[in-house]
Every structure is written in C-alpha cells, then in structure tokens.
Symmetry: C2
Subunit: 317 residues, 2 copies
Amino acid sequence: MVLTNRQGVSISPDTREKVLAAARELGYRPNSSARAISTGRFGCAAIILSTKAYTSNLPMGLLDGIHDTLADNGMHLNISRLPDEKLIGPDALPKFLREQFVDGLLINYHYHIPETFLEKVREDRIPYVWINHQLDADCVYPDDFQAARYLTERFITRGHRRIAYFVYPASVHYSDADRRAGYKRAMDAGGLRSEIISYGADEISNAECMALLLGRFGAEDAPTAVVAYGPWPARALMQVALRLGRGGPDDLDVATFDDQVLEDCGRNIATAIIPQYAIGVRAVEMLRQKLEAPELLLAPQAIPYTFADGETSEITA
Amino acid sequence: MVLTNRQGVSISPDTREKVLAAARELGYRPNSSARAISTGRFGCAAIILSTKAYTSNLPMGLLDGIHDTLADNGMHLNISRLPDEKLIGPDALPKFLREQFVDGLLINYHYHIPETFLEKVREDRIPYVWINHQLDADCVYPDDFQAARYLTERFITRGHRRIAYFVYPASVHYSDADRRAGYKRAMDAGGLRSEIISYGADEISNAECMALLLGRFGAEDAPTAVVAYGPWPARALMQVALRLGRGGPDDLDVATFDDQVLEDCGRNIATAIIPQYAIGVRAVEMLRQKLEAPELLLAPQAIPYTFADGETSEITA
C-alpha cells in the first residue's frame, strides 16, 4: 500500500511524491502509471498458495485467465506460497503486501484452511478474492451443482434409468457435495432412485476399489450410466467396463468433470469442462472492485461450466 | 534494473539513494534489504510463459521449486505470459524488466520458439535461465536420456526381450528424441532389436491409434514390455492390454514418465518421476549465478529422475 492510507498506514504526500519522482527518473513507465498515481497502488496482485500438499491446485487455464486480465488492466502478477503461520500471524498479511509491493490477494487455498484465516484477512482489511472455495462473500468457483445436474439430466433424456454417482477417493472439497446434490436433484426430478457409490482412499486401496466396482457393475441391476467425480473415477469405470466386456457407450455410459475432454479412456468421455480461464477472469474483475471499494462485500460467483459431449449414444430402455 | 548500470542504463547514485530512502520511509523492509541495497536489485525474478497453447507447461512441482528457492533467497516471484512480439521486439525485454521491477528471467517456453528469441535475450544481456529446453548454455531440463535408458534396462534385467518404445501423438520436444535415444542405447547394449512405435496425431485419430495398437499387440511376436512416452500412450497401452485379455504385468509390462506414479490404469505403472521441484530449485540457483556474473555461461544441467516401481513382475523368457 505504498500510496494509500488504507490499512491504517499513514503516508505523507511528500513521501509518495518522492517515490514517484524517483521512479520517473529511473525511466519506470508502468502501463498504467496515470491510473496508479491517481489510485495510489503498486499495480500488482498476488496469487496465494498454501504450502500444504494438494490444497492449492493452480491449473494453467486459471493462471492464464488471472494473468491476462491483470495484464489487460496494467497490473503485474506475483505468486506466493505461504505456510499457515505466514497467513494468520499478527500483521502477517499487511506485512506481506508491503514487502512484496502487492495491492490485493487472489487466495487459491481449497482444503484444510486454518479456521482463523478468513477472520484474519477480514480483520486486516486485505482486499482479497477467494478462488474455488465457498464463502458468504468475495469468492468465485465453478458451478458444480448445475454441471452435475446437467450431466445427469442428459443421461435421463437419453433413456438411462439406473444412473449412479461415483467418487473415489472421497473428497472434502465443496465440489463433491455440490456435484452429489446436482445429481440428486436431477434424479429426484426424474422420479429416479439415486445411487451414490463412494469409497474413501483411507478405507480401501485402489485395487479394492476396482474389485468393488467389478462386483457392482457385473451385477444384473448394474447402473447403465455414471456421473464420475473426476478423471480418476472415470478411468476406473472405463477399465471396469473393458474388463466386463462392456467397453461401448451403449454398455456403460460415463460422464465426468475435468479441465478438458477426457479422451484417454479408449473413447472420449462426455465432460463438463471446468471454466478455469473464466474463473481467473472473474476473480480479477472482483479483486478490482474490492480495490476500488474495500468495504464492499461481493456476492459469491458460481461460474457456469461448458460441456463436451464425447462419444455416447441414446439408449432405448 | 533500478539500481545497477548493467544493461547500458546509466543510473546516478543520487537517484538510487532517493528510491531507497523513499522505500525506507514507507516502511518497506524486504527480507533481503541489506543484500538488495548492496547488489542493487529488485529482488524479483519472473517466470516467462508463452501465450501459445501447450508451449509453456508449468506444473505445480516446478512452480513450488522455483518459488521456494526464490523465497529462501528473499526474492519475489512474478509470472508473465507474453506473446512472441513482446519477447523479440526492439528493447522489449529490457523494458519488461524495468516495468515489472524484475531482475532476471526463468524462461518456461518449450516448443515453436521464435528463432530470434535466444539471440535477442543474449544481445540484450538479460540474465536468464531456460527451463525444459536444450541449449548450449544456461538451461536446465530433466535427464530424459538416462531415465529412458534406466526403464529399458530394468525391463531387460527382468527378462524381457521384445521391448518397444511408443509415442503418440508425435512430439517435437527434445524429450521424445532423448527418450528414444536412451531406449535405443539400452537395447543396443543388450544386443536387442529396437522397435519404435510412433504415430502423429495429424496423421491418425485416437481411435485409429487404438486400432493399430490392437493389431500390433495382438500379434504373435508382440512386445512384452513398452516404454511409453507419457500418460496418454501408457493409458492407451493398458486399454489395449485389457481388450486383449492381457491386463496383468506378466502379459504386457508398461513403464512411463510423469509427475507422479501413474496409478489410474488398473494397476500402478512403473514411472520415471519428472524431477519438477529439483528443476525449479536448480533454475533459481543458476539464475542467481547469472545475476552475480551476467557474462558467465553456465553449462546445461540435466537433472536426474527418480523412479517409482509400480506393480510389475519378473518374466522368465
């Protein structure tokens, strides 16, 4: 916050002018220097990642959407990966902003988030937008509920009646709950019985999971279509189908969620495409609103998926 | 380059002192302010990505290795994604460094690189290290040759004689050439005949590729083991094995290269683990050497893979 007195930091106009004058003398010409001077900002946002494994996925599409939208607005992108103590310690985040010349945060931390972190970030009045996490405000995530509902309705429209939802390993992310709920909503609306197949990786091994699937999908009343939580379960189902001699989409139809159409399963799988780039764009747009008006609470934004049909076929029940 | 007169930019000690004084007044306390003042740097490195699709893969392990090593040295991380004209235009890169407050570049651009880019970056005397690309100097990449040789020797030691190398879609990246060469070296040393199975995605579709594989691996003299270029070919081979009733590692043994052990193919596949984190660490170490001595040419660094065995079994020929 070099040039503002938000955050309770008092900065004299003199000091501010000195920095800007020095920057000018050095030939520093940011794309947006006029705006930066008038709004008093560094022109830099940081993506915050956790140091804990698997809690801060940053796919290229998301990074690209964030970067490009910042660049369009003359802003730089900083990436920082911080242990929890650097996120929740006293004055930790304001200090981080000052030291890294950062105006606001795009928080990309999805699981096992310390309970006090949200409280802290609000107390310290840090401009932030949370990515791929559900909060009461200031967050953006893919619309998993609608995507799962759509994939399920699509199966119903094609004549399927025994449609299951399959997740392995079990997930603690909101997306699993939302995908289940969207699936269930469509099944209920279609007057069909839901079947959730869910195994935890702490309970059973990959091999045991495959054996259970072979049992279930070898049975007389096996589902004819499955909404799979992600690539792992989708691939497992396709292997089960191959082992059971049910490799065609007529035999077992599978749909899933991924960054691109899942095409390494012997056939292309119908895929709800996670709108990573659009999430990045929206996150930056929201952060810019927060920078203009830090007191504003922004409604949570659920970004719609796109869909790739894959190879499939209508079945006649 | 605020505080140096490298790059042909002449900066007066006065100006420099003015910036530092202003920064101090603002309470800016970088982790490494003492060092930064003495060496005259921003304390920031940028990862450069191309805007062209699939030319700038940035896996989390690589990002983490880069970030953590920069942070250990009190440096920030900027990420920029630039179209070719911003990389090769006159004064484009020096201007980029000034505007983004960046000391040096980690260039993460792997395919279809404009011919003049390397020339340009050297002409402009930009401190850089190139990641995952082979040059005569100042680059770091995984040791694909040794990894492929190891995987092939491992098959030979286990009694395999008909061992193939399989790549699809065809790759223009050095890693394919190096993996082929490492495979071939091991086959030659073992007195065995090499068999390269390579299809281009522009020549045949995924479905045609699968059909060709079914033909080859259904034949009497089919390979009993395959070194697969990556996850896609490894998964395709496992599907072929399942379709042919050869799902066990005794029937068709597969090894591949990936960021983690490939475990979504029905069984764990022996995997050469790309040393992403170690590449990131080394890239930053090299960049720090370049920042100290920009005239220095650093020898190319091939970082060794690690290996995960997967489920496999010895065969008796």
